[in-house]
Symmetry: C2
DNA sequence: ACAAAAGTGTTGAGAGTACACCCATGC
DNA sequence: GCATGGGTGTACTCTCAACACTTTTGT
């Protein structure tokens, strides 16, 4: 808390933990839900993969720090991001006490893939369903992030945050199926998404060679963050 | 994150924020949802009320720190507690950078009221619906805690965590009504709670002078944390 | 004409909601 | 016997889930 700080509080009188902001960066590639990881160069856990993140600067909000890390690794700004959980077991980092405020971000495929980050670190996309060995407690963080993402999808229509600005209903359904890992009924999906009243037709159509061209939709900017009272996909 | 720490990392090379764990302690008193606050003795915000909390010790998990604060203020252990959110705006504490991991706890009325905390600080219970002026961003934290509590009540039956070990269905319904701030239908409430299959009759009855004695229920310990697929009170 | 993907309605089952009276006890 | 709170059932509506064919385009 902040209420028991002694009157003549001097920060240097206290041991203080390091605080980092880590970002679980989700994206869809083809038929796969992927997450961006960084290869560690130094011990501990050298050569293992880890969630991107970094220290929270003293004049920087937590969400700013997370957004900065996201931008550093991907060049992307203005995407969906929310605080996930704060992990603070005393020995999760063997060197020193590190408390990690974890975020997760949803990044459209076209905004990010094949664009290496600005810094020199080695990054790569991994399937959420086939993860490498991970540093620290990062596997736990990723699993928790996936749970939360699924939960969110079922209650609030955030799926389109992983798609380009304009998308077809089939693409949106596919995104949901990949993440939830189960097939959805086409007619029921469309009815439910459209009745949620958060999408609008752009008037354009997408033709990809074969088959009937599909109507393109976008997220309605004026859709006042509608609270879903029912699960979208129970 | 923890992955970008330089190889020869020395904690003293970095400015580090202070980290506190604060606990929003909810309880029911009569017809009111109350929260336990501490009166600050020193600036900033001297004589204003604040959420109890304190620094996270270097060898202490976040949840341990929160549980310790809870025990210090109330003497209570083993109650429902969950992480709420982490607040870290740079200037939320005017003295120095303080990041607060907020928790909320549900404490049964009979376990706590009229029992002053162990330490010398002045504490008092306040109605959640009639709060005093609060220090720091603590009003925001309380409002967020109430939102989460209501949300949880609607989806998962945590209401009984605010009641004694044995309670009547009317008492449970009353608790829900107080927190949700709306009347509930008696027959529908009972059907829904009982069909959730998390309660069992104790065999005992409560008689309070007038009226027919009510069956007492307790939480089924073997109720394997059943996932609710539907909202309890849509 | 046929292959490929888009698009479209109906029916049955289960859950949610609204609603009013009898029951057991104390005084 | 009456006041007080406990306890119970039913009908209607709405949402969910399951399910198959037609339409539009490219080749």
């Amino acid at each position: 808390m902040t209420s028991n700080i002694p009157p003549n509080y001097d920060p240097s009188n206290y041991d203080r933990p390091s605080v980092t902001a880590d970002v679980v960066i989700f994206s869809l590639a083809g038929e796969d839900l992927q997450v961006l990881l960084i290869k560690r160069k130094h011990p501990p856990f050298a050569n293992m993969w880890a969630i991107p993140g970094g220290f929270v600067q003293m004049d920087e909000a937590l969400e700013e720090a997370a957004a900065r890390e996201l931008a550093e690794e991907t060049g992307v700004t203005d995407v969906y991001m929310e605080q996930l959980f704060t992990f603070g077991e005393p020995n999760r980092d063997p060197r020193t006490r590190v408390i990690t405020v974890a975020y997760f971000a949803l990044v459209p495929y076209d905004a990010i893939h094949h664009r290496p980050g600005d810094d020199a670190s080695e990054t790569a996309w991994f399937s959420m369903f086939d993860l490498p060995e991970l540093a620290f407690d990062h596997r736990e963080i990723l699993e928790y992030a996936l749970t939360r993402l699924r939960y969110k999808l079922e209650y609030t229509a955030v799926g389109f945050q992983l798609l380009p600005d304009e998308f077809t209903l089939s693409e949106l359904q596919k995104a949901y199926e990949i993440i939830l890992h189960e097939p959805l009924d086409k007619r029921n999906f469309r009815r439910k998404i459209l009745s949620a009243n958060i999408l609008e037709e752009t008037g354009n159509k997408r033709k990809l060679g074969e088959g009937r061209p599909a109507k393109l939709y976008r997220y309605r900017e004026d859709a006042v963050a509608e609270v879903k009272t029912r699960r979208l996909f129970p």
